[in-house]
């Protein structure tokens, strides 16, 4: 694999939320480039647009201006983003949004089944991913009865089960105890995925990423993380 291959490219992206009260520009002529194998951190104050940036990448929102290139192709329409969603996994801030099936096994198998895997294959993947995250035996647990940390790790499993090439994590360490953050750190460090993490936890970012950007006033700049 060519390590310098650029897989995500934001060119002059602007985005404004239109609601009744304000026309608040969140992103303003933003540029970003991520190559295969890169491990990127993203910091920025609350409401600076980190989640917006991720949702633009996944095609959940459309930019007001600019172009988004993913895997070498420009993505504009819903159809273009279907392929993106198959290869990029997004971990949501609130695990209760991500886990919606009654049991853990069904939730983890949901993605693989959507990718056209058979029930047997999906179950095999589910077992394998849960084991890799040290969550074996969770298959029949009810998702709404899990603890906060368990929910976050299972959410990560639902994303990893789709075998993504890129992982996007939105505040993954928020609300977790030290042990779970440690576990998450280990899981990320031992993976060979390209990933992008938004977090307020600079210690966590310095352990898991090679380069950190700060999102401020709609633009990205290199940030120094101690």
């Amino acid at each position: 694999m060519d390590n310098s291959e650029v897989i995500i490219r934001f060119k002059g992206i602007s985005f404004t939320y239109h609601d009744n009260q304000s026309h608040r520009p969140v992103l303003d002529d933003l540029n970003l480039q991520i190559s295969r194998g890169e491990r990127v951190g993203l910091i920025g104050s609350n409401g600076s647009g980190k989640t917006t940036l991720f949702h633009l990448l996944m095609g959940l929102l459309r930019p007001t201006a600019g172009a988004i290139e993913v895997f070498g192709e420009e993505r504009r329409k819903e159809k273009d983003f279907r392929v993106v969603r198959e290869k990029i996994g997004l971990l949501f801030q609130d695990s209760d949004d991500q886990l919606f099936c009654p049991t853990v096994a069904e939730d983890v198998a949901f993605g693989p089944l959507n990718l056209g895997k058979s029930q047997e294959e999906a179950l095999a993947i589910t077992g394998e991913v849960l084991e890799r995250l040290g969550l074996d035996g969770f298959e029949d647990r009810l998702t709404y009865k899990l603890s906060g940390g368990e929910k976050r790790l299972i959410s990560l499993a639902t994303v990893l089960a789709m075998k993504p090439e890129v992982l996007i994590l939105d505040e993954p360490s928020t609300g977790l105890d030290e042990d779970t953050v440690e576990r998450l750190t280990e899981i990320l460090r031992s993976s060979d995925l390209t990933y992008l993490i938004a977090s307020h936890n600079s210690d966590f970012l310095s352990k898991t990423t090679d380069i950190v950007y700060r999102l401020e006033r709609g633009k990205l700049a290199r940030a120094k993380v101690s």
Binding site: R82, F92, F100, P102, N114
Partner: protein
């Protein structure tokens, strides 16, 4: 939250295949709902009580649930005896209660309690999630089952959200009373819950799209009929058919 609090246990009925239980519960309810012969209803009452005994549930909890059902039935007793035409039984002031009215109210009381008892013994002894899967295997439309699952899943989340909002009000010394401030605050609470659930629905949809959702939703769990399931199905179906024949075939 009182979801599933009868579902833990290890009785014969807890272990029975949920599909069997659903089929029997539905047929039994239909027969009892339309029946009016005493012999048939007497048999139905015995059937329900036997099931309750087999399910080995806490009788106190069951009684508390029956109270809820009978709270509605009290209203029937207030109106039916006085509005149903027939032979006069007794009178309160200028209101005459009829024999037929009292019998009718009694019939409804017996029938609803019998059905609820059977439903508690048969259906409440399986977790809702399992019942949903069983319904899926009984060819109930997917959309209805997904509605059931989403409701169960997010009832919990909404309930927690409600608790949080209510606590937030309480720690700022909110005391409900009969005044505009209370009504306004409670209206805000409900409004906030609605908005929050709307936002959450949107986020869940987005999370589903990100995992490649395109309109199809898969269920995993599978059931296997054991010998005991078949035996119980046959016995219970025979009993229900017995009730039906007492009602419709055997002459008085």
């Amino acid at each position: 939250m009182h979801i599933d609090n009868f579902a833990t246990g290890d009785s014969l009925l807890h272990r029975l295949d949920p599909r069997v239980k659903i089929v029997v519960a539905v047929l039994f309810s239909v027969v009892v709902a339309v029946a009016d012969r005493h012999s048939c209803l007497a048999m139905a009452v015995c059937f329900s009580l036997t099931l309750l005994f087999l399910a080995r549930l806490s009788l106190r909890e069951v009684f508390l649930r029956l109270l809820v059902v009978n709270a509605f039935i009290v209203f029937l007793w207030l109106f039916l005896p006085f509005t149903y035409g027939g032979e006069k039984l007794f009178s309160i002031g200028s209101l005459d209660a009829t024999r037929e009215g009292v019998i009718y109210a009694l019939l409804i009381t017996v029938k609803s309690n019998t059905i609820v008892l059977a439903l508690i013994a048969l259906l409440a002894t399986s977790p809702i999630v399992t019942l949903g899967h069983a319904l899926n295997h009984l060819y109930v439309p997917d959309k209805l089952i997904h509605l059931l699952f989403f409701t169960v899943r997010y009832l919990q989340v909404l309930h927690l959200e409600y608790d949080r909002l209510r606590d937030a009000m309480r720690i700022r010394a909110f005391k409900p009373g009969t005044n505009v401030h209370t009504y306004k605050s409670l209206a805000y609470l409900i409004g906030m819950l609605l908005i929050k659930s709307f936002d959450r629905a949107d986020r869940i949809r987005k999370a589903m799209l990100c995992r490649g959702f395109h309109g199809k939703y898969y269920l995993l769990s599978h059931f296997e009929l054991q010998r005991v399931d078949v035996i119980m199905l046959v016995i219970m179906m025979l009993l229900v058919s017995g009730m039906a024949s007492l009602q419709w075939i055997i002459l008085k």
